[in-house]
Symmetry: C2
Subunit: 242 residues, 2 copies
């Protein structure tokens, strides 16, 4: 995909990424898709080894139309993905449980993205170091400056994988209970929506903390009760702007 194409506001819709069921929930614009991705720390990646699909959870982040994750250089997932195989990287935020008056209309609210591309390892050492700093800072703003830099052994043991988003789709449900018209009056079942959030608790300091260290400025948004998606979104913007 050329730079020009990357600037397009929407991803091209193909048979791979078209949202077929509940197509009214589908989104192909980069703004929506980027927001869902950048609010997440963990994704699930589908890939195939010898005809067997695997679904592996891992941390990831986005830069432009590229997604990055990492793993042990010796892992089967990484060794397989390094061959340039097709992958699907999916992010899901669960936002609510929705109880209805029929089983058919029970639902959940969510924001999800499926991104399709081919995995490749980042071989260039300087690029790898730069990206690994971004990986830390994207979660904990400016932390890469505070910590020890990777040594040769760690760099060798860790493979950084990248993937250009060749196509992607977002899917969002953010509505209330929706029942068959006749059921509202006919079915005396108490119905409701329960919001769901993923939140941070209070920091538990490392028991071997050096005395006198202050909580770094970059952690200002890490307060008890803050939602993980809001903290990830803020950290993302502090690190990459936008």
């Amino acid at each position: 995909m050329s730079e020009a194409e990357t600037d397009e506001p929407t991803f091209v819709v193909t048979k791979v990424n078209r949202v077929r069921r509940r197509h009214e929930r589908g989104h192909y614009d980069r703004k929506t898709i980027y927001e869902i991705l950048d609010a997440a720390l963990v994704c699930h990646i589908a890939y195939v080894i010898d005809g067997q699909p695997y679904c592996t959870p891992t941390a990831f982040w986005r830069e432009g139309d590229h997604l990055y994750w990492h793993g042990s250089s010796a892992s089967r997932m990484i060794r397989t993905q390094a061959q340039g195989i097709p992958v699907c990287l999916t992010v899901t935020h669960l936002d609510a449980l929705v109880m209805a008056r029929s089983g058919f209309h029970h639902s959940v609210n969510y924001r999800s993205v499926m991104a399709f591309g081919h995995a490749h390892p980042i071989e260039d050492r300087a690029e790898k170091l730069r990206l690994m700093d971004n990986f830390i800072d994207r979660i904990y703003p400016e932390r890469s400056k505070l910590i020890r830099q990777p040594n040769a052994q760690e760099l060798k043991a860790t493979t950084l994988m990248g993937m250009e988003i060749e196509t992607a789709s977002g899917k969002v449900r953010n509505t209330h209970v929706g029942d068959e018209e006749a059921d509202y009056a006919a079915v005396p079942a108490w119905s409701a929506l329960y919001p769901v959030t993923q939140v941070l608790g209070e920091a538990s300091e490392c028991p071997r903390q050096l005395p006198g260290l202050a909580v770094p400025e970059g952690m200002a948004d890490y307060v008890p009760g803050a939602t993980v998606d809001s903290v990830m979104t803020k950290a993302y913007r502090k690190t990459f702007g936008g």
Copy 2:
């Protein structure tokens, strides 16, 4: 897999489910794997269409060594899976963010399961109705008795998929900051673990609620601030025992 084998306390370890990296985090016993599965509402399923892997989030539940989920009968996912293809169903609970003194030792605490098997549709009507009631009750105890039963059109439009767990592995990290020994003293980076929980908010009643309906008894555990995994575990036990 025979009934006798199903009663074995651990899943057979094969090249598919063996935890190779961080093998000390690996678990193959049914008790650990069932607990992680039964605490979850949402999984991610990897499957392959025309060589392209897909990773789709969906609600699911377990009965014995079988996993179930559903979808629109017209969806590509369901139409493909109904052919009996191999799938990998993965559940992930994010429990903490762990900041360390080197990028290499940054981590997250989690509980995850990867379960492998072949998908098949539940064709028997009575079995399908029984399982669909379980699907509701497993989330909202005894709710299936309160709601309208599925009509013929809904039953036709919904395919219930099942999968016997042929093999599975669990992976758990539940430790604190772990750094290179030399780094504790040498690197003055404030380090900590942030617990993460997924919690329920206050119920938002359906705006078209019939007057005079009480909150059903089965919802007693659905209180603001309750963690989704604890509520799912309790609902599971109320419905299936254990």
